[in-house]
């Protein structure tokens, strides 16, 4: 018996799918923000004097980077209520994405900070810049510029990873797709189309990141 592809179900479900895209973007943006906070705090702690604090950060990074996100989100799903955080699935997903992305952000930001030579800071002072100017123009901007490609690449990865949050039924594109699939039994058509919606989302993000890069980092280095 032949199977006829029928994409009309996808077309009828398009408003719901587009809202799912909005959910995915919201989840990803919230996760990125949390990841950046964890990243910066982690880098600050990683250079702390206390050895146990440093070990804590290194341990956190290694554990997160060497276990699957699916296992991490399941663990947090059951662990957060035990520490008194009774959250809905979407909030749990944001924390899981933030924790996961944060571990990668720590490694990336640390590389950026290390890329600034001490002599550059001293040269800044010698030129008569004050502390705030040195931090802003000589440390922060070049460091951000140096890590920008890897950081934005990691953010796009985080956005794609957010599809796994459907496993705890957070509100995002994949869980919307799963609901439509179970209503219509058109698994292939739905998932095939949703894959391209994700592709559009990553292109949109890439474009946005390129515009930001062009606006803020387009100056010659030599």
């Amino acid at each position: 018996m032949g199977y006829t592809l029928d994409f009309s179900v996808v077309w009828h479900a398009m408003p719901a799918l587009l809202w799912g895209c909005v959910g995915t973007l919201g989840l990803a943006l919230a996760g990125m923000t949390l990841a950046m906070i964890i990243g910066v705090a982690g880098v600050a702690t990683r250079d702390a004097k206390a050895a146990w604090l440093r070990a804590l950060v290194i341990g956190f990074v290694e554990i997160v980077r060497n276990t699957p996100f699916l296992v991490q989100i399941f663990f947090l799903f059951f662990a957060l209520p035990l520490v008194g955080l009774k959250l809905n699935p979407t909030a749990t997903a944001i924390i899981a994405l933030g924790v996961n992305g944060g571990a990668y952000a720590i490694e990336i930001i640390r590389g950026g900070v290390q890329s600034i030579h001490k002599g550059q800071v001293e040269a800044g002072y010698a030129l008569g810049l004050h502390k705030g100017q040195v931090f802003r123009f000589i440390v922060l901007k070049p460091a951000l510029r140096a890590i920008y490609p890897s950081l934005t690449g990691q953010f796009i990865m985080l956005t794609l990873t957010s599809s796994i949050c459907s496993a705890v039924s957070a509100y995002e594109l994949t869980s919307v797709a799963q609901r439509i699939e179970s209503d219509t039994f058109r698994s292939f058509e739905v998932y095939f189309s949703v894959t391209f919606l994700y592709l559009a989302i990553s292109w949109l993000l890439m474009l946005g990141f390129a515009v930001i890069s062009h606006r803020f980092f387009a100056y010659p280095t030599r």
Binding site: Y3, E62, I63, R65, N66, T67, P68, F69, L70, V71, Q72, F74, F75, F77, F78, A79, L82, I156, L160, T161, S162, S163, I164, S166, A167, T174, S187, F188, Y191, F192, V194, T195, F196, Y198, L199, S202, W203
Partner: protein
């Protein structure tokens, strides 16, 4: 009566771990073969072919692994072939690996100094000999850290087979967690098993990266 997490449950997780390892090995072997072909096509010098492989790689890098798995899994079901769940997910991971390894090796091939290819041409070597004896051995060395990095990603990625119902380590963990009502303990053990698998590879990869960086400084 609710069973506690004991030796039989641990054994069940270990059997899941076996499937995770097997799935990774099959996908990695398949991905290496197809990925090499992709990398060679991507650097063959023919504009059209290079564009097609570039789009192929772009699609896999720009979409979630979970959705790729769904599309392959349900797409294969539509063809009418009665495939085992293991074969279906293995094919899914293989195509994903082919794109990512293809891109890693494309970069490595292009990182081999152009003079090497030119010298080989001047010596009258043909394409196959030039690639096999001159470019690829050097490219493999350059690409090793990134290839190992991808292998770690692949091991972690196989956990997504759990969502389409294939019983590997993550799915085994879900099952045991539902039976014992000890989710923290179970997912802690499952996480530890993944860690034991991935961490030595990550460590080896970053050590090799540091050594290569040192060698290129000289």
């Amino acid at each position: 009566m609710v069973p506690h997490f004991g030796l039989p449950e641990f054994g069940f997780l270990l059997r899941g771990l076996q499937w995770t390892v097997l799935l990774t090995l099959v996908a990695f072997a398949g991905g290496c073969t197809a990925g090499l072909a992709i990398a060679l096509l991507r650097t063959c010098g023919h504009k059209g072919v290079e564009w097609i492989t570039r789009i192929y790689i772009g699609i896999f890098q720009g979409t979630p692994l979970l959705l790729q798995l769904f599309v392959v899994y349900y797409g294969l079901a539509l063809t009418g072939l009665k495939l085992d769940a293991f074969v279906a997910v293995a094919i899914g991971f293989t195509v994903n690996a082919s794109a990512f390894l293809g891109e890693i090796w494309r970069g490595a091939i292009q990182a081999v100094p152009r003079g090497q290819t030119e010298a080989a041409m001047a010596l009258g070597l043909h394409y196959s000999s030039r690639m096999r004896d001159i470019v690829l051995p050097q490219a493999i060395r350059i690409s090793l850290p990134a290839t190992i990095g991808y292998l770690v990603q692949l091991i972690k990625g196989t956990s997504l087979a759990a969502i389409v119902g294939f019983i590997e380590l993550a799915r085994a963990g879900q099952i045991v967690s539902n039976q014992t009502f000890q989710p923290l303990l179970v997912f802690g053990v499952v996480g530890a098993m993944y860690f034991v698998l991935c961490w030595p590879l990550s460590w080896w990869g970053s050590r090799m990266e540091a050594r290569l960086a040192l060698a290129s400084q000289r």
